[in-house]
Point group: C2
Chain length 362, copies 2
DNA sequence: GGCAGAAATGAAAGCGCTGTCAATCGCCCT
DNA sequence: AGGGCGATTGACAGCGCTTTCATTTCTGCC
């Protein structure tokens, strides 16, 4: 619009130094500067140091956009996460970065807040940056999202969840199985009135819910009044509210399985508030095994998932494809499983080892 | 390297559609396609719909890199956060996005995990994308970071903290004052042995610590054995460990002020574990006022900060500068303050209003 | 009915950088 | 001493797009 833009000048009226500026200053050609930066070994020591001086004195920072455009290598990987509120995606993102950044790849992260529409937008946005790969959380993309990802032609990794029909690569766990396993664990502890609290915004939580329902049915247990759900993203206070709902319907509920640890913590607090003893009166079991599960009183039993491993695998698979010019990792789908961390909130006051023995005896 | 790259072909062997492909398909010139996308009103309805069809059938997604390069408008704002583990930066980022995204600006977020070196790297990386502005958390950038930001020529907003010597714009609060206020609040409640637990990784936490020390001194109180600190980033379990340290040194500690809510929660759990009553035996006060503070039992008193407001202000200030071609917001530095949310963990079982009255009487 | 002026479209140039290929230089070997 | 080789450096073109300016086409109006 204004002439300022035409001449590449920013709002402060300064123009950022370009490769050519550096070249002029160092008395070499632009290509040589480019090489001194990208492939230092190709440039003589003399020129290299002269160029380095020029770079410093001009505060030159290469224009990644121009470099990416010219080389058709963007060194960008797009990552989509549905949330940043809890520690779950922090571990995961950290693992991805720890693999990709040292390889010179920049990770662009977009948070879509559990919204499919935001996810579609985010995918389009990220693809506009021509990433060399995409990592998306979950397997519940809309048809449009799937189509965009597929036709982008870049490797796509779906994480956190497993599916029979992956877009491309897939690593995750079966949340239905995990939900059912939680129920069976509580059942094995002697519980019959097992409640489930959940926040429906998360597709994985919906799958855990389905697993809960399936397991309850298989065990011949009624779920009447035992399920409380909210359409909003979860927080700790919601745990108390949902548990209160269940309590009103089924006063003698004996165990609560929640779709995540926030709700479990909220439930624990609600029990404290009401003078309900945990685990004597009500057992509580969360999901994700966040750091506060070990710290709370009683410590919270939770289903632990391999967040870091999923991030690492996704990133390494991408690296292999990019570096190996198209070789795909095999298998292209991996199921990582989960484990139940037994703690005092479900009555396991003994050590984990003793607990295993106890179960073996049972 | 391989010829695949030279011809702009990705690992799957497909080549993504370009503007020219769309133009050819629609039987128009490339410029017209560009206009149909950026300025639809400049193109006749007939051509526009023909172009839209071509776009759809080719799955065309504009190359943001090329577009940014050609227009010298990247529509990118770089944001640096020191952490994603807790809810603090989630609110803040959400606020920034809510202002910037509707304005067509993409926010690139980099998490530097409380590391100055990572921050320097992140700043260089982001500047490589030629953002139209930068938002950084805190005012503790290294000299190199400051220099890069200044010489970039783009507007820079430092948030979360205040400083006499801002790089450019600044919005935040005085954490020293906030820390001191917390101490004075506890003092007013009758506490004398006031402990402080802190994680030193966070510069704002260090400032709150300084405020604590200053206030304690002003009140003529000893801090001997009352401070426990860890160099690592905080988590809930750390709260229990640090509190235990203090307890060993000063068994009759009467109040604990922590640098954040995670440590406060950990302290609360440790009290529960040891049978220490809160607030009767020990009062607990956190910082940030995260969602679990209202849910816990007892609810945690905490210092509430204007995270969203800081994000919103930063984003709006940037928008004004970008849109207004250089006009700066005034004032260029804003202090947002804080407020103490009184809850049961510091003995305030009555309503906040009654509490105010009680203090007025005292 | 013909011309001013607006509206719609296109041609050309270039954003900042990198890949390719060509040119130059010095040095070793026979 | 001449040829050849590797090591350096540079010229040129072009990545995909937008901006500018020129051209064409279509109005309306005296």
């Amino acid at each position: 619009m204004s002439e300022a833009q035409h001449s590449g000048v920013n709002v402060q009226g300064k123009r950022r130094a370009t490769l050519s500026d550096v070249a002029r200053r160092a008395g070499v050609s632009p290509v040589t500067v480019s090489r001194a930066i990208r492939h230092p070994e190709m440039v003589s020591e003399l020129l290299r140091s002269r160029i380095e001086d020029a770079v410093r004195s001009l505060n030159y920072i290469p224009n990644h956009l121009a470099s990416a455009l010219a080389s058709t290598r963007t060194h960008i990987v797009g990552v989509i996460v549905p949330s940043l509120t809890n520690g779950v995606f922090d571990d995961y993102l950290g693992a991805i970065q720890d693999v990709l950044n040292p390889a010179g790849i920049q990770v662009l992260v977009l948070n879509v807040r559990y919204s499919e529409i935001e996810e579609e937008r985010a995918i389009a946005t990220l693809l506009g940056y021509h990433p060399e790969a995409m990592i998306v959380a979950g397997t519940d993309q809309t048809e449009r999202s799937r189509h965009m990802l597929k036709s982008s032609g870049v490797p796509v990794v779906q994480t956190m969840d497993v599916t029979d029909d992956p877009i491309d690569l897939n690593i995750g766990l079966d949340h239905g199985v995990a939900g059912a396993a939680a129920v069976r664990y509580l059942h094995a502890q002697g519980h019959r009135r097992i409640a489930h609290l959940t926040a429906r915004a998360d597709p994985r939580a919906r799958r855990r819910h389905a697993g809960y329902l399936r397991a309850m049915e298989e065990l011949g247990l009624s779920t009447r009044g035992l399920v409380a759900a909210s359409p909003r993203p979860s927080d700790v206070a919601m745990g108390g509210a949902l548990f209160s709902e269940v309590l009103a319907a089924v006063p003698d509920v004996s165990a609560v399985f929640t779709c995540n640890d926030d709700l479990a913590l909220g439930t624990l607090f609600e029990c404290q508030r009401r003078g309900i003893r945990v685990p004597e009166d009500v057992a509580i079991m969360g999901f994700n095994d966040l750091d506060f599960c070990v710290a709370s009183v009683p410590a919270l039993t939770s289903v632990s998932t391999e967040r870091q491993k999923m991030g690492t695998w996704a990133a390494e698979a991408i690296l292999e494809i990019i570096r190996g010019s198209g070789r795909r990792p095999s298998p292209a789908s991996v199921e990582v499983g989960f484990s139940i961390k037994e703690r005092a909130s479900t009555g396991v006051v003994r050590t984990a080892r003793a607990a295993r023995k106890a179960r073996a005896r049972a």
